[in-house]
């Protein structure tokens, strides 16, 4: 074999080796990327859903503002919520979601709220469309003004704000 042929053969082997290295490394990266893709999408959806719940809880229509002392985060005014429930038709397209519910966690109570039984109830369905998807929820403080023999005081309970995003979102 001539020296030139030997060099060409050496180069060919080198090229094959480098191509194989790139192919293997590329495959490794692709497999790794796609294995995390589904998880990333799920995490992103969960994050968006939680942010939506948080955005709703802190919106002026729901939030406590400074009605119960200093400004509180993730605090929903129960009186506002029950009034919103009565006027839910005006707000159906305002938030762009398929449903909004507030469920008291502690003290536990599953009775649907209306103006007749409020505040001795535990579930405020602000509104609900027929085709609700998978919900996302987050903990909130549900506060209201109430009275005892000593006068009016602030009462905050633990609840979950449950939001049903529209499927096209």
């Amino acid at each position: 074999m001539k020296k030139a042929q030997l060099k060409i053969q050496q180069m060919a082997f080198m090229l094959i080796a480098i191509t194989l290295l790139f192919a293997l490394a590329g495959m490794f990266v692709l497999v790794f990327m796609f294995s995390g893709l589904k998880e990333s999408a799920t995490a992103l959806n969960e994050r968006n859903a939680l942010l939506l719940v948080s955005r709703l809880a802190n919106s002026p229509e729901f939030s406590c503002g400074e009605s119960f002392g200093m400004l509180k985060l993730n605090c929903v005014d129960e009186d506002k919520a029950i009034i919103l429930k009565q006027n839910s038709n005006d707000y159906k397209n305002f938030w762009g979601v398929a449903g909004i519910e507030i469920q008291k966690i502690y003290p536990e109570n599953n009775i649907e709220c209306n103006l007749g039984n409020y505040p001795n109830c535990g579930l405020i369905t602000i509104y609900s469309e027929k085709n609700k998807g998978v919900s996302s929820s987050n903990f909130i403080s549900l506060c209201r003004k109430t009275s005892s023999e000593n006068g009016i005081y602030d009462k905050c309970e633990i609840a979950k704000l449950i939001v049903f995003p529209r499927s096209e979102q």
């Binding site: 790794f32 994050r47 509180k72 993730n74 536990e108 987050n138 903990f139 602030d154």
Partner: protein, 164 residues
Amino acid sequence: MKKFSKAQEEMMGFVLIVVIIAIFILIFVAFMISRPEKQAVESFEAESFVQSLLQYTTDCRDNLEFLSIESLINKCQKKEKCLDERDTCNVLEKNIKEIISKSWDIQNSPIKGYSLAILSNKQELLKVQEGNSTSNSIGAVQSFVRSGIPTEINFEVFYYRRDD
């Protein structure tokens, strides 16, 4: 001269291969670092829970008002009693135990356990623990200072195979 130039070529080739491999290792490490996104999302839920817990109004009152969990922690630190003579630390423990058990179900969910510790001046004031600890957990830490006493709340929820 010819020998020297060939040696240089070999060295250049070696360096090139090392650089290429280093780039791939860097890409791999970058992907590994960007993975704990889900942990952050779920910790947000734990943080919201701790915030809501602190704002909960208990049935223990002082001369002015019904006390929130945050105020009750402060009263417990100062060994004060409720207006009806109940011990504030007992009321605090009872309320926290009931609230957590209703909020984080360890019977019919992927949650296997939880732990909440209240540290007052870095000393343990109260610890509530239920279920089992696992290596798969989310958590939240909330700190505040009231009446000059630094307080820290560490809350952790343990999951069983959360990635399934």
